[in-house]
Symmetry: C2
Subunit: 249 residues, 2 copies
DNA sequence: TTAAGGCCTTGATCAAGATCAATAGGCTGG
DNA sequence: CCAGCCTATTGATCTTGATCAAGGCCTTAA
C-alpha cells in the first residue's frame, strides 16, 4: 500500500493504469485527484475462463482494462442467456453486494483492474463524485439493458443479427475515431455460440442469418471473426429501428 | 415552499406522504430527516393515460404512490416491448437526464408523487445518503432487467406466463404479509395485451397459456383479473428456474 | 332493449426458428 | 503427416408461437 495519488487526464494514460481515462478510471471525473493505486491489482484471464460464477461471494470489484467479457445467466436445464457484454472501461461487480448474480466469462483474453471491494466501498463513501459517476454509469447500463429487452422480445433473427453487428461496428468505429458512415471493417470477438446466447437464438440460426446478409452483400466476411460493412446505413435498416441500440453492458 | 422537515419511520405513514416509508421516501434511509415536502406535488393519471413519451423532455421526476404503470419502447412498425413494470415506491424519471428514453403509461389509475427535477437534483447533491440509495435502487433495477432478459431470450411461452404470475403473486403476498407458500389469491392489474407486451408474446398466446394452466388446475381464474394459486410451488416449477425472478422495475 | 366497442377466448393454418444430422475447415499435439 | 477436437456451415424436418378469423361476454350508451 504505497498510497500515492495521481492525476487523471481525459486523453493521457494515467500514471497507474495502462489505459486511458475512461477505461480504468471511469469512476472519477476528469482532472480529479484520487488515491486509488494503493488498493489496485491486475489480473488477466484467458479466453473462455470463468471470472466469477453466479452466486459467488466476491471480495473484489474492478473494471475491464482490455478484452471482452460476458455476463450471463443459465437455467437449470442449461439454456443460457447473455445479459451483458463487458468492454474496456466497463465495471465488474457491485459495490454493496455480497454475491454476483450472473456468470462472468472472458470471451477473449481479458485483463481486469481490480480493487478490494471493502476498500473501494470506503473510497466511494469518502468521494461523492465517485458515487455520482457510478450512478450515472449504472443508469446507462439500465437503459442499455432495456433497449436489449426490446431486441430479445420483439425483433426477428435477422434484425437481431443486424443490431449486434451495428453495435460492434459502432464500437470499433468509436475506438478508431473513424466516422461509421462509410465502409468500415471491424472484428467480432464472439463465437457463434456467444452471439446466439446474446441474441436468444441458436448457433445455427446465427450462422444462417450471417450467411444470408453476406449473400446479400450487406456485410462482407473477411474471415469468421472479421467483417466489413460497405454501407453502414443499409445495415442499420436491417436492425429494425433507427435508435443506436447502444448495448454495452 | 414551506420547507418543513419531517421524520420517516419504517412502518408509519410519513407526515407529508399518504403512504408508508418505502413508497414515497424510497430515497431516504429509515429514520432520516429530510427536507422534501417543500418541493413536492401529486398527480393522478387514469388507466391508459400516457405519463411520458419516449424522447420527451422532462422537468419532473417522482415515484409511484399507488397504481401500476408500465415502461415500454415501440419500434417504428408498432411492435412494442414492455421493459419495466412500475409499482408503488418505484422511481419514474432520471436525475441528470434530459429525456425519458421510454414511454411511461398508467396501467391502472396511478398516483405519482412528483418533484421538480432541478430541485431534486440539488437535494441529491447535498444529501450523499440519498445518492447512495438511488444507486442501490438502480442496481436492483438493473439486476431485475437482466433477469427479465433471460425470460425474454430463453423461456417458453408457458414459462413466461408462470414467471409473470409468480411475480405478481409474490408482490401481492409481500404487500399483505402472507406467506406465499400456501394458497394465495391476487389481482392481475394488466390486460392480456399488456402481459403480451411484457413477455414478448401475442395476446392469443397469453390467453391460451393461461387457459391451459387453468385447465391443469395450477391456477384458478376467479375472473379475468383475479387469480388464485392453490399450490405456489407447482407454479414456480412451471416458471423454469428456481430463482425468484424478481422483476419489479 | 338493443347496438357498439373493448377485451378475451378458441380454432385453423402458417412460418420462423429450433432441432437433428451431416460435413467441412482450422488448430493443436503426437 | 494425420488424428482429434472445436467451430462453423448447410440441409431436412419438426415445433412453437404467430397470424388470420370467428365468436362470446361485459360494459356503456342510445
Amino acid at each position: 500500500m504505497t498510497g500515492s495519488t495521481f492525476k487523471i487526464d481525459q486523453n493521457v494514460r494515467c500514471s497507474a493504469c495502462p489505459i486511458r481515462h475512461r477505461a480504468v478510471c471511469a469512476y472519477c471525473e476528469p482532472d480529479e485527484v484520487v488515491q486509488l493505486d494503493a488498493i489496485k491489482s491486475y489480473r488477466t484471464f484467458a479466453a473462455g475462463d470463468t471470472i466469477a460464477m453466479a452466486g459467488d461471494e466476491t471480495s473484489k470489484i474492478g473494471s475491464i482494462v482490455s478484452g471482452v467479457a460476458t455476463l450471463s445467466r443459465t437455467l437449470p436445464d442449461g439454456r443460457r442467456q447473455m445479459v451483458g457484454l463487458l468492454l474496456p472501461s466497463d465495471f465488474v461487480g457491485r459495490p454493496g453486494r455480497r454475491e454476483t448474480p450472473f456468470d462472468v466469462v472472458a470471451a477473449t483474453e481479458t485483463t481486469l483492474c481490480l480493487f478490494q471491494k471493502r476498500q473501494f466501498e470506503a473510497l466511494i463513501a469518502s468521494t461523492p463524485s465517485l458515487e455520482r459517476r457510478l450512478l450515472d454509469m449504472t443508469l446507462d447500463e439500465l437503459d442499455s439493458a432495456r433497449e436489449w429487452m426490446l431486441l430479445l422480445g420483439r425483433k426477428t433473427a435477422r434484425e437481431k443479427i443486424a443490431s449486434l453487428l451495428a453495435i460492434m461496428a459502432r464500437r470499433d468505429a468509436a475506438l478508431s475515431k473513424a466516422t461509421p458512415m462509410d465502409g468500415i471493417r471491424f472484428s467480432l470477438p464472439l463465437t457463434r455460440e456467444a452471439m446466439a446466447d446474446y441474441l436468444g437464438l441458436t448457433i445455427e440460426t446465427v450462422s444462417r442469418q450471417i450467411s444470408k446478409l453476406k449473400k446479400e452483400r450487406i456485410i462482407v466476411l473477411e474471415d469468421a471473426r472479421h467483417i466489413r460493412v460497405p454501407d453502414f446505413i443499409s445495415l442499420l435498416n436491417e436492425a429494425g429501428d433507427d435508435s443506436d441500440g447502444g448495448f454495452i453492458a
